[in-house]
Point group: C2
Chain length 415, copies 2
């Protein structure tokens, strides 16, 4: 009977625990929040389609019947792999026999951390609510503003980074401005809004094929999004983005560019890549200790062909299950079969009714892709409650143009 | 064509506007928030049954097709009834021909405003989320705490005030502690929690009959709530409530005692009662100006028999419609029929499946009352989206013991 600590209740930690809990081990799950977050739909909380509780489940509740699973709401401050101990926020020290690190990643501002004051990233519920309130409030400020030049700044939205998150956010903000709010203001038209999607590379969605990226570009363009490629951000100040080509004044700047692995990885004293991710063995353990595993976004798993797996939910889920299998069966290092990622595809939505994606060997784009995307996400959401609530919110958002969670209740500008 | 300003988009302002908008007048609706809040269910947001967006609708969206209605998100800072002007937060001055004040009320700490730092009232969405996070976090703190005496403080909940809000909150917190969370903690049992409902008067629910109050007392008692009557709060400090009988140490102190009308009323320079409410004429206008109306919680409307109407939604709704009728038909002061409140009954829930209420001339208690309460509230919620979402959340909360909105995402203790 081993004592196993899991850091992080995201896709990796959760899928590990769901499979491993039926073994004769003691598990301690530590998370900074009290909930598992269905991250792929977080951008919909930021864009007023869903409520936070639609895509979260209390971690503690998931394991209430597993007496061998203890959940702790706390932040891990330090890992000591020599002593096999972790230290919590409140200075409590807990020892372990095996350690599973699925602590995810946060946004990286490429060394320009001062930009984070003016550009918000999207990783946790609180980020999503901050972005949501800021977007909604921009229109309210525009309505109350007499000066045309200042109003223009309120109506400019800049999204930095043309990956899936950037594309999904841009499409969704365009829907708000050009579809949902068109008749609501008296001093200006919400269609005056400008939505800029800035991508430093040659094209958006670099992880997809060129043909899918082209289709996405067309979908975004049709929606009214200004997609700017080869446009590198050089500076971000208050309400101001400077690129290699122009200056854009905007009240809303959203950062969807780089990732950085959890700072906990550095305590492992193991090889990391340029994003701070632990470079792991083929069994997901670190080189120096075969009972310390890193899975999901905090890991750089190189396949036998030398390619690094992407930081997406299916990778974390499969790695969690894989490690759980080895631990359940108590398989020793030498006898562990290498982890193999089974790529079932990825998708991204572009506004309502449009998506692009790869499913098996097929590329999909348009309404069919969107339908597929919706179904897949409903299937993967945890619990019937979330499935039902999200389906209903989508019906109102997509068929009746009603974004039900259009709530401003805090003063984000004062934060 | 008159220019009509409505201050407040609560039940009074909204029902006024819904009826008056089809007249040839210009309307300006001013609210501090961007949404109408269905206040009777706010305690369910505070106790993790509902999400904020389940019981709110964006005001602007409700009137998007009424070109003669303009919505402003702002706070009114001053009213000048001689000049017929109001001043907004941003110093903008707007003139009016007629003014409807439905600005509601806030909590009154009976002159002890320093208590508000330690005891939270429940009026707006942000209050509800603060209370929700604080309640949920108390259990998490108890789990992380080694010192038994400190843990006890975390598990004590004090609700001050035995009116409907206090009773509903106490019942709902008891459900969380004694039903929903019982198997989730490893270092203590959530059933160790103590929920105190303190009432200074002889009995709880003074606005109901003695027999219904007795039944409520029994329901609360059966749930495990410690109901203390004739217990007057003498002081509130951090984690400490002193009454005329004892000292209770508690991390969660919720204030559901006194009300105080909106501070705007004092600008009217009109007669007020001891809660700061404007004492209005039988046509809801103030004595000094028959084109300034005060409706809902900010008004003290005395019926012809000299009784003051209670501060509840049906009064505000009916007053809003009544004033709208007079304005639509352009009825002069002398010809206005006095407002008559048609009392269709009131209800309060006590945990799941139990409620008490008066419907017409009948008193109801128990499951039938609860069923009636649920149906009535679903009928009155605005929009199909809210009705459907609330019904689903209730099914999960009441039949499956799952409070779906059990989210902690901000650090309330740091506020």
């Amino acid at each position: 009977m081993a004592k196993i600590i899991i850091i992080g209740g995201g896709f990796g930690g959760l899928s590990f625990l769901q499979k491993a809990r039926k073994s004769k081990n003691d598990f301690i799950l530590i998370d900074k929040t009290n909930h598992h977050l269905f991250q792929p739909l977080l951008y919909q909380v930021a864009t007023a389609v869903l409520s936070p509780a639609d895509i979260t489940v209390p971690l503690r509740n998931l394991f209430k019947n597993d007496k061998n699973v203890k959940t702790i709401l706390s932040e891990v401050k330090e890992i000591n792999k020599e002593k096999k101990e972790i230290t919590l926020d409140n200075a409590e020290v807990i020892s372990y026999d095996k350690l599973i690190i699925s602590a995810g990643s946060s946004y990286s501002f490429f060394g320009k951390n001062e930009w984070s004051k003016f550009a918000k990233g999207l990783k946790v519920i609180n980020d999503a609510l901050d972005i949501r309130e800021k977007i909604l409030k921009a229109f309210e400020k525009a309505e109350n503003e007499k000066d045309e030049r200042i109003r223009k700044k309120y109506l400019n939205f800049v999204i930095v980074g043309g990956g899936p998150t950037g594309v999904e956010l841009a499409g969704s903000i365009a829907e708000i401005a050009y579809k949902n709010m068109t008749k609501e203001f008296r001093n200006f038209s919400s269609t005056d809004a400008n939505i800029y999607l800035l991508e430093a590379g040659d094209r958006i969605l670099p992880s997809y094929s060129e043909s899918l990226a082209k289709k996405s570009y067309k979908f975004l363009n049709d929606l009214g999004v200004k997609v700017m490629t080869k446009e590198r951000v050089e500076n971000i100040e208050e309400m101001k983005v400077t690129t290699n080509k122009q200056v854009i004044y905007a009240d809303n700047i959203i950062w969807a560019a780089g990732n950085e692995a959890s700072p906990l990885i550095k305590y492992l004293d193991t090889e990391t890549d340029n994003e701070g991710r632990a470079v792991v063995n083929l069994d997901c353990s670190i080189k120096e200790d075969n009972e310390v595993y890193v899975i999901g976004d905090a890991a750089n798993f190189k396949t036998e062909s030398g390619e690094s797996l992407p930081g997406i939910a299916p990778v974390a889920i499969q790695q969690g299950r894989y490690v759980a299998h080895n631990i359940k069966k108590n398989i020793e290092k030498e006898k562990r079969k290498p982890f193999r990622y089974s790529d079932k595809g990825t998708m991204a939505t572009i506004g309502r009714f449009k998506a692009i994606g790869v499913v098996g060997n097929f590329e999909l784009a348009g309404f069919t892709a969107w339908l597929f995307w919706s179904l897949i996400h409903l299937v993967y959401l945890i619990g019937y409650r979330s499935k039902i609530l999200v389906a209903i919110e989508w019906i109102f958002a997509y068929f009746f143009n009603k974004r039900g969670t259009r709530l401003i209740y805090r003063d984000v500008d004062k934060n």
